[in-house]
Symmetry: none
Subunit: 121 residues, 2 copies
């Protein structure tokens, strides 16, 4: 594991959830670290190969990464103003696990988001 990979892991720890290559890149720059996007991609690829990161896809096809085994949360997003609340998804975790095992799927992951209009809008 080289320096870039350590940096990427550190950022993802700080983020505590999913982030795309570009987001990680920008966080590193903001951090004062000097890196190229290429290096981020290479670090991410290597970390996924080593099974230290999970890789999923956003709806628009962009790849997003997360530390393996990290407990994650979901979002409640306002369709109008974009305000976002992080919520626990205990029920969903169980649902995903049950459904997956019912149909014989392994290495299971999931995405879930709730959209609505917040009380201010």
């Amino acid at each position: 594991m080289n320096k870039s990979e350590v940096k990427v892991i550190a950022i993802l720890e700080r983020v505590g959830g999913f982030a795309s290559a570009k987001e990680i890149y920008q966080l590193l720059l903001k951090n004062g670290d000097s890196v190229g996007l290429t290096t981020i991609y290479r670090a991410l690829q290597s970390l996924v190969d080593d099974k230290l990161l999970d890789q999923l896809r956003r709806e628009d096809g962009e790849a997003i990464y997360r530390l393996c085994g990290e407990s994650h949360h979901h979002h409640l997003v306002c369709k109008k103003c974009g305000e976002t609340v992080e919520i626990e998804g205990g029920a969903i975790e169980k649902w995903a696990k049950n459904m997956a095992s019912e149909f014989g799927f392994r290495e299971v992951d999931h995405t879930a988001e709730i959209f609505g209009i917040c009380s201010n809008c």
Copy 2:
């Protein structure tokens, strides 16, 4: 719904599962239909907007499409081969409703997908 959209629907009926834009394009060509890839993309986009198709992503980020049933359901998708199972999400519906009301959100909608590797892969 115009001619191209009808053609796309017909192909997806024949396929009986997911297909990417390129796959649909090639099937149409093999069929003797003369179409451009651009038109396929436009038809797909329009059908997704009209909620006649579900759109998901393969592991490599390519979009895949398929006819969607009318009832609200969720998907259990194989990250490798794209095989998909439609599943009921009773638990999720409740979770979404509860979370939304807890935080004062209304006009609530949600997305939820489970990813894994199916028993054949």
